[in-house]
């Protein structure tokens, strides 16, 4: 009876979530090239093999790893630092909190466009700031410099994702019983020890959530790259998600695009599983 009541919702979830995923898997196992619509043979893992041997694969993978490692580390660190600050009482703290959340409310594409203007090599405010501070003699190429471009893209990503991470950390911080800190202070624990032995362990659930969520976001990052660089300059910022988009929409090769999408999904799953195992094991040991 319960299943009957759940059936409509389950059907919709199936249609919107499960079926497309399974259909994408089916496409990835066939030569699905829109330029040859009548020829759709089963190729097994052929698309996956083809993608691995493409010239862009290694660089896309490295860029994805770079983006993920640096992006997630920065989001976590800055998010935690922000939460610790916002957890303290200070004048205009509610205003600070509201301002802190603004980047999260900005749509991804708008975020990208905004940073594109800031980074502009001719009239961007970043160049303007650096020039007025005397740090540069002349306006510098920003997104057009392959040495800088990826870091600038990561920065735009971090700016957008920090508020949610901070919010998750802050919520968890507020749930830590104050008595623990009082007892620790009575025992003579300084701020660093209280942070290490009370705050950090209590934040494990929040860490897990922040790490999993932001890793997923970073691995799948597409919109920020599309708006800021389209994988350029040259191929300096193309990641796996961008390559999947190119294969599907520009090269019309849905088979390879789906294969790449599945590789991204599997990578995300593996990393998320590893997080769960690593942090879950630590909790068991500490229990």
């Amino acid at each position: 009876m319960a299943l009957l009541f759940l059936a409509p919702a389950l059907l919709i979830m199936f249609a919107v979530n499960v079926y497309p995923v399974l259909y994408a898997l089916w496409i990835s196992l066939h030569r699905s090239d829109l330029r040859r619509p009548l020829s759709n043979p089963f190729v097994g893992l052929g698309n996956f093999v083809a993608v691995f041997s493409e010239s862009y694969f290694v660089s896309s993978l490295l860029h994805t790893l770079q983006f993920t490692l640096l992006g997630v580390a920065l989001v976590t660190a800055v998010g935690l630092a922000s939460a610790l600050i916002l957890n303290e009482k200070f004048p205009l703290q509610p205003v600070a909190f509201a301002v802190f959340l603004i980047p999260w409310a900005v749509p991804s594409v708008v975020n990208g466009l905004m940073w594109k203007w800031i980074y502009d090599s001719q009239f961007g405010s970043l160049n303007g700031l650096l020039y007025s501070l005397g740090l540069i003699d002349a306006y510098q190429p920003m997104l057009g410099d392959p040495a800088k471009a990826m870091y600038l893209v990561i920065n735009a990503f971090v700016w957008k994702e920090v508020p949610l991470a901070g919010l998750l950390f802050l919520t968890t911080l507020k749930s830590i019983p104050h008595e623990l800190y009082e007892a620790a202070m009575v025992d003579g624990a300084d701020a660093l020890r209280r942070f290490r032995y009370i705050t950090l362990p209590s934040l494990k659930p929040a860490f897990l959530l922040v790490l999993i969520y932001n890793t997923m976001q970073a691995i799948r990052a597409f919109d920020i790259i599309y708006v800021l660089t389209e994988g350029g300059p040259g191929d300096a910022t193309g990641n796996l998600a961008w390559s999947a988009y190119q294969e599907s929409f520009r090269h019309l090769n849905l088979g390879r695009g789906s294969a790449l999408a599945y590789l991204i999904a599997m990578g995300t799953f593996v990393i998320a599983y590893w997080y769960l195992k690593a942090l879950g094991r630590e909790e068991k040991e500490n229990a």
Partner: protein, 462 residues
Amino acid sequence: MGDGFKLTRRQVLQAGAFAGMGMLLGGLAGCAKPDSEGGTTPAAAVPIGSAHAYKGTLNLYGWSAVVETIQKRVDAFTAAKHLPVNYAHTAYAQYHDAVVTKFTGNAPLDLLYSSDAWVSEWAEAGWIVPVDGLPGLAELKKDLVDSAISAATYKGKFYGLPYYADYMAFLYNSEHLEKAGIKAPPATWDEVVQQAKQIKAAGVVEYPLLIALAQETWLTEYIYAQVYSRGGSMFDQENEAVFDKAGGAAEAALQWMVDAVHTHKIMNPAIVETGELAGLKAMQAGQASFILLGRYRLSSLNDPKQSQIAGKARQAMMPRGMSGKGETVSWTRPYVISAAAAKDKDRLAAAWELMQWLGGKDDQGRYETQKQVLLASGSSFATKPLFQDPQVEAFYKEWGDPHVMQQQMDIARTKEGLLPFFSEWDTFNKAAWSNAVLKRTTPAEALKTSAAKWRDLKKSWK
């Protein structure tokens, strides 16, 4: 936390049941015939019905250029033919991807804009139909310039009348040349360097040369124009890549651009970020002396409402290099009819009426839409009779030199290599050229990898 993630036997069985249903449905979906047939039946083999018998609304899709003009022409069509048209558009930079999404998602499309670079791709995908044999086409084709016919022809079939046609032009700011004491625009690429250095030394602008190297659609035309102007080719008659020839025109062109940025410092190192539109605005603001742009942009450069250099922008012949005569690349953007429209003979007739109205003659026998598009934006046409139109002649004289325009058009060449996998190679080639300009690779290496990519694609296409 770890305990909460155990699955019960019931949950596993239920998940398996759902997954099984999904596989079944996925398999059924996979067995379904694709919506579009490859090697589409030519339009002429489908009997064309009567446009007046079509009771639906035609869907016209294009990119966002001269939108008001097109809308007025569409309104006039509806008033004359009593056929409602839903006209939608998107930015040119996103147009190809948007159309792919629409075709794949079976969005309603009847008539749409295309580029010469996409005709083969969309024809192979079965998304568009040829218009051979449709009533009145033979007469209209007689008025078309040859390049417009070849640009819209694939495997011997003609796919559409032109929306507009143009070529890549070399434009300059005459005031900058005057200030630097230069009497005539450069005739060779070497002279471009000399004059740019002179302009820079005179303190007129810091980076006199602007070739927008952002990896967007226009980069393809910039590349072709520079290779052609040096007497080179990208592909031969058999569509084999020839641009990787050591010491050839492509290597010379790419090396020249690298030197322009890093050695002569006449082009901004940030040029790889600059797109065509940003380049146009920079030129309008007087920030560059020489630029490659579609010839039609000359009208907006000389429009005081849009440009600070109005009256000073001129066209010169494309500079020569090596054995070249200063040739350039031309392009045609044709209208095309969707395969979905062709499935219904009355809908096909209605779409053909709209194509003729926009890309051919209206009820009064005038090429009115093409003329209005020219007058609104300078976007040129591909129909010979319009060249003799007094209003058109007067328009050209107002912002350009018709003599130079005609001379350049006479030696403009269409793009080579427009096979179905051209877009895929083009993406790779643009990145390769960018990497060379950024000095992440040498020009020879960039061209070598690009040619290897072409050969791989050609081999796998067979």
